[in-house]
Point group: C2
């Protein structure tokens, strides 16, 4: 953990849809690896289903945009950002459509959820 960027002040539990951009994403070791560009919400249920995320921390993946299933992001109230256990290797091998910054079909986002939920 990089204690220097850890804040003891808990953040507000809510966030406005127009202020989501820029929220930090950290890897399993606590390193800041990217930021959220936007969340994508199911209109009927109001549930976030995935996040479009700009990864800029890995050596080989400077500022690549990847669609990440919501269940792979875990909010850390102390660091004011999302933790993920997704690895550089998983991002590299992810389905092509998850690198297009366009709305996914239901089949695509289910495929993506299964991909990231599977064994490494």
């Amino acid at each position: 953990m990089e204690e220097t960027v850890t804040s003891a002040v808990p953040s507000h539990p809510l966030i406005e849809s127009d202020r989501v951009e820029g929220t930090a994403v950290f890897d399993a070791s606590g390193k800041r690896i990217g930021t959220i560009k936007r969340l994508v919400i199911e209109k009927v249920s109001g549930q976030v289903v995935y996040a479009v995320t700009a990864f800029g921390g890995f050596l080989d993946l400077d500022s690549e945009v990847h669609t990440i299933p919501w269940e792979q992001l875990h909010y850390d109230t102390k660091r004011h950002g999302y933790h993920t256990t997704i690895t550089e290797e998983q991002l590299r091998d992810a389905p092509e459509f998850s690198r297009d910054d366009t709305l996914l079909s239901r089949r695509e986002w289910e495929t993506l959820s299964e991909y990231y939920a599977g064994p490494l």
Copy 2:
């Protein structure tokens, strides 16, 4: 129902957090009464908990901003907007804090949910 503004083309089931603004809100009779300014999302669960909505269709409430609990908004895939059974009277009598465009505390949003869920 105002059939002239009804589209037969189903909309995409998903919406991006930075494209939520301007989504239409219709009353029980199908009249367009306002638009969504932003959705407010619980950071941990990724669930939308309420919407900040600009009401401009009622005679006495031109462009008033009101916070509306998510469960009072029902997406209509044909009209590409949200229906609500909330009435002008309910908006007029709503708690003061629901007219401030600031993030609500958990107690406030629970109070608001109970207010709008209650009998007319």
